[in-house]
């Protein structure tokens, strides 16, 4: 489904990604962990073509999105993204936020999209807030609207960039529950997060990144409790 091959990314002199390769199969849930500055978010943003790679290739369903001839907007329409700071559109209601993608990008009829959007808001548990503006919602509610907004495009893969790290502790669970449900339904997901509970419950694999490279990967139980690499061990000892 997603294949990342030897990807490099530089910001000026800063070499953020130093040859990252991994593969995510359909229906897999991959959790990426690692210290801040390891390049996790940059990696995710490259998969959504929000950042241009400086070397290597990223394939989504066999299509090379680093190819300049490929229509980036079409790629992005098939890849859902959830951000750390939600990035809801403040001038639109929750419902309008969810409807916007299909209406504007896919040019689907409003009535049909409205039904779909209400279904999705119901799925993330905030149907009753459909007419509220983002500023009237709590952080957890905003993030769930953001997930519904991404799902409205019926993406083939969902990317989560630290979806719970800007949330107050009591709101983390409501967002994770939605993500767990999504994983159980078979959605392909790549998640940058340090939520151990989530990783243990649904992750098919955990990838540990440090200093622009993948240090090791494996099942959650192994990476969290019995990693091979000393750097992974050091990191886990700090966050556990």
């Amino acid at each position: 489904m997603v294949k990342v091959h030897d990807v490099h990314k530089k910001f000026g002199h800063l070499h953020v990604l130093k040859g990252v390769s991994f593969e995510v199969k359909k229906g897999e849930v991959v959790v990426i962990v690692g210290p801040s500055g390891a390049g996790k978010s940059t990696m995710l943003r490259c998969i959504n073509a929000l950042e241009k790679v400086d070397g290597g290739h990223i394939y989504i369903e066999g299509k090379d999105i680093t190819d300049r001839k490929v229509d980036k907007n079409r790629i992005r329409a098939e890849v859902g993204m959830v951000f750390q700071h939600f990035n809801l559109f403040p001038h639109l209601t929750a419902l309008e936020n969810v409807m916007l993608g299909p209406v504007v990008v896919k040019k689907e009829p409003k009535e049909k999209v409205r039904e779909l959007a209400l279904e999705l808001l119901d799925k993330v548990g905030i149907k009753e807030k459909a007419e509220s503006y983002p500023s009237q919602l709590s952080g957890g509610q905003q993030q769930r609207v953001a997930i519904a907004r991404a799902l409205a495009m019926k993406p083939k893969v969902m990317l989560f960039d630290e979806p719970t790290s800007a949330l107050d502790p009591e709101m983390i669970k409501e967002v994770l529950d939605v993500m767990i449900e999504l994983a159980r339904e078979g959605m392909t997901m790549i998640v940058v997060s340090h939520e151990m509970g989530f990783a243990r419950e649904v992750a098919t694999r955990v990838i540990f990144m440090d200093d622009g490279r993948i240090i090791e990967e494996g099942p959650a139980s192994k990476i969290f409790t019995n990693p091979d690499h000393p750097r992974t061990k050091l990191f886990m000892s700090k966050i556990l």
């Binding site: 951000f83 990035n87 403040p90 504007v104 990008v105 952080g139 495009m153």
Partner: protein, 275 residues
């Protein structure tokens, strides 16, 4: 995010509100009335002395007969200003988009336009338009006035639009792009509607100052308020009365607009929810 009232925040707010009581919430006292009374007394005495000593004879009774002419001229001033503002907004949106473009040539062109307009006097620009451009293209006085004022105003609107667009956080672009929207869709549905709210107050301010700046197009022999003032003055020769009337008419137009703007701003703040 969500505005929870924190007990820690109440302390500095409280201090601030106490300070503002001293400065702005103080009441009118007898002393205030005495100060105002003395001020207006001096003003009135001055006017009386001018009359009594035969320095200047007030002839306010000459103004009402010419008032309809003034009002017609004021309407023309408003027309020129309004049409110029509309054209200036078009120029400003295009200029603002050029200024944030990823193409350096477009950015350069927009900068050259903005800087050359903002760093030369409007009166000189009006001369250039009137004696050169308007002659070549055979423009009427009204067209030339609109041309000069909107090109002038467009430079300022360009900067307002640029600042408005850049005030929208990058996350909004990214979220919209991640849904698969293209540049124009992001602009139309996400950025401009939000930027518009930021842009309205300074834009209204520009429109108000344009009404005042439009007095300069009187040199184009367009019978707007200022030129009409000059013509009527040369007919009835009452300079103080005429120019006070002209000033008062400008004042009424601009203050009416700024009151309306405040109302508009307040209404948008109620409707527009922002994080």
């Amino acid at each position: 995010m969500c505005g929870q009232a924190s007990p820690w925040r109440s302390l500095p707010t409280h201090q601030k509100s106490r300070r503002s009581i001293i400065i702005s919430d103080s009441k009118f006292t007898l002393r205030s009335f005495v100060i105002l009374f003395v001020f207006f007394l001096i003003l009135f005495l001055g006017a009386y002395l001018i009359q009594a000593k035969d320095i200047y004879n007030w002839h306010w009774q000459d103004i009402p007969p010419v008032l309809p002419v003034f009002l017609k001229a004021a309407v023309l001033t408003l027309e020129v200003s309004a049409v110029s503002t509309i054209v200036a907004i078009l120029i400003g949106v295009i200029g603002g988009l050029m200024k944030i473009s990823s193409e350096p040539a477009l950015r350069l062109l927009a900068s050259v336009y903005v800087e050359s307009i903002r760093n030369t006097p409007l009166l000189i620009q009006i001369f250039i338009v009137y004696f050169f451009i308007a002659t070549i293209f055979n423009m009427s006085a009204f067209q030339a006035a609109v041309f000069a004022l909107s090109v002038f105003e467009g430079a300022y609107v360009t900067e307002i639009v640029r600042a408005g667009i850049q005030s929208i956080p990058r996350g909004q672009w990214e979220a919209a792009y991640s849904l698969g929207m293209n540049y124009f869709q992001v602009m139309r549905h996400i950025i401009l509607p939000q930027a518009f709210r930021v842009i309205i107050p300074p834009l209204a301010g520009q429109f108000i100052s344009l009404i005042k700046d439009s007095s300069l197009v009187s040199v184009m022999s367009l019978p707007e308020l200022t030129l009409t003032g000059r013509q009527i003055n040369s007919r009835i020769f009452r300079p103080f009365e005429v120019w006070f009337t002209v000033a008062a008419l400008y004042f009424v137009m601009t203050t009416t607009l700024s009151v309306f703007t405040h109302y508009l701003e307040r209404r948008m703040r109620v409707n527009g929810k922002s994080t």
